[in-house]
């Protein structure tokens, strides 16, 4: 079943891939659709939408490769206690 997180991510990322049906497990960085401004917009979008900070330790490509990967990452971050 598609989660709210997946839908939210697809809605945002699809803006960068007009005319392309993005699959949940598709590698967005291998797709060739994303431009150089995308990475920071994606970071800000996730932080703004899901209410946590993305830090250097989080910048594993495996956390951002696909909608599925980002969903796992977001669910994991949201389940962690807020660090001080």
């Amino acid at each position: 079943m598609t989660s709210d997180i997946e839908n939210t991510l697809r809605s945002f990322i699809s803006r960068f891939m007009r005319g392309h049906e993005l699959k949940d497990d598709e590698d967005i960085f291998a797709s060739g659709f994303v431009n150089s401004m995308f990475a920071m917009q994606l970071v800000q979008f996730i932080e703004h939408q899901f209410g946590f900070e993305i830090e250097t330790e989080d910048l594993e490509l495996d956390n951002f490769r696909s909608i599925e990967a980002m969903t796992r990452f977001i669910e994991q971050k949201k389940s962690l206690p807020v660090s001080t």
């Binding site: 007009r18 920071m40 994606l42 970071v43 800000q44 703004h48 250097t56």
Partner: protein
């Protein structure tokens, strides 16, 4: 919707304006002529705490909101674009460390940067690499507990006096960010003079010949130097420059309003000539529009909205192209006097042109903004014509 400053922002603005009128405006022309910013001026700026404008209070900074930070850039930009440049690059590096630095980097550098005990510079551009940042030629190789850097940087703002450089180099074939201290072995600085504008910005070339830095000076991760570290810093840089352009524009307007009310031609003051009024009107209207775009970008930044990145690009594009025209008209209104070093408008014109080149040229912004349109607006297909 309300577009008005909070009481705190108004108080900040009044303090910025008073500082700039007292400490910067009377001296900026001489700094421009001498092509240097006196060290006591940088110390004075440090004492105000403005170099730590965006650094959190707990790290010794002012922790300003983005609107207050914008107003600070406008006011300092109104007085001296070179000094505003210092604020720009210093805050770009501070922000990069705050966002992507390690805990040790943050704990060590942020209090020093906030207090102005260390001045930061941004080393991205190279002799062969400008807008195409991913094609950097400088290299970094891991050797034991150190990185060895080789390569050259150019047009580094305040490189002549900075103690800390955020330098970008290819590591394992991918763009990566590093902190390089001025006294690192193999690191040398050569002053650049004779620039068209922002002449007090103390530009420098940076040379790294087997420059050895600690392994811990890596910022972010290998390969994320351009996509994350420099992109993040440059977003703040563009925001600062956009507001700086509003500051130059405001200075032009104020100079023109005064001049046009004092000088007579054909028996009446210049401000009674309709073609002068037209130039003043264009100036006021475009300046208002640029300021509103900056407010919008600042508001989106304050609430963490991802649209802030592109709206900042739009604000920088509009404000920098606007101010070139405004400064050009300001010189035109001043006539031959405007071409003379006795009047500030000639400095404003020279400085404004630089704003169209730094932190992403006008042409790069145009390409970026046009692509952005397809992210946020869905083209509406026209129905096929019926026969």
């Amino acid at each position: 919707m309300r577009i008005e400053l909070t009481t705190e922002q108004q108080e900040n603005q009044a303090a910025f304006r008073a500082f700039v009128n007292r400490e910067i405006v009377p001296y900026a022309d001489s700094w421009d002529r001498e092509e240097r910013t006196p060290p006591e001026v940088i110390s004075q700026l440090a004492r105000t705490g403005y170099l730590g404008a965006l650094i959190p209070v707990e790290s010794g900074g002012k922790g300003f909101d983005m609107i207050s930070y914008g107003l600070l850039n406008e006011e300092i930009g109104r007085g001296c674009s070179s000094l505003r440049n210092l604020l720009t690059v210093h805050c770009m590096v501070s922000q990069a460390i705050l966002k992507w630095g390690t805990k040790n980097q943050r704990n060590y550098w942020l209090p020093k940067l906030a207090a102005g005990e260390a001045i930061a510079a941004f080393g991205l551009t190279e002799p062969n690499v400008g807008s195409d940042a991913k094609s950097l030629e400088a290299t970094a190789n891991l050797s034991g507990d150190s990185y060895i850097l080789n390569g050259q940087k150019v047009w580094t703002t305040y490189g002549q006096v900075a103690n800390l450089f955020l330098v970008f180099a290819q590591c394992e074939g991918r763009p990566t960010a590093f902190l390089v201290e001025r006294d690192s072995p193999g690191f040398t600085v050569k002053p650049i003079t004779g620039m068209l504008g922002v002449r007090a910005s103390m530009l420098a070339e940076l040379f790294m010949n087997d420059c050895r830095i600690p392994k811990d000076n890596l910022v972010g991760r290998v390969g994320l130097g351009v996509s994350h570290v420099s992109s993040y810093a440059l977003d703040y840089g563009r925001y600062s420059v956009a507001w700086g352009c509003v500051g130059i524009g405001q200075a032009c307007l104020e100079a023109c309003l005064q001049y046009a009310s004092e000088r007579k031609q054909f028996g009446v003051y210049l401000n009674e000539h309709q073609l002068i009024q037209q130039m003043l009107t264009e100036m006021i209207t475009n300046l208002d529009a640029a300021r509103l775009l900056c407010f919008q970008a600042g508001y989106l930044k304050d609430i963490g909205d991802p649209r802030s990145i592109m709206e900042t690009t739009i604000a920088k594009y509009f404000a920098s192209t606007m101010v070139t025209k405004v400064a050009n008209d300001a010189v035109q209104i001043h006539g031959a006097n405007g071409c003379s070093s006795k009047y500030r408008v000639q400095r404003y014109l020279r400085d404004s042109k630089i704003m169209e080149i730094v932190e992403g040229s006008t042409q790069i912004q145009q390409m970026t903004i046009a692509r952005y349109a397809y992210q946020y607006f869905t083209p509406v297909r026209e129905p096929a014509p019926t026969r």
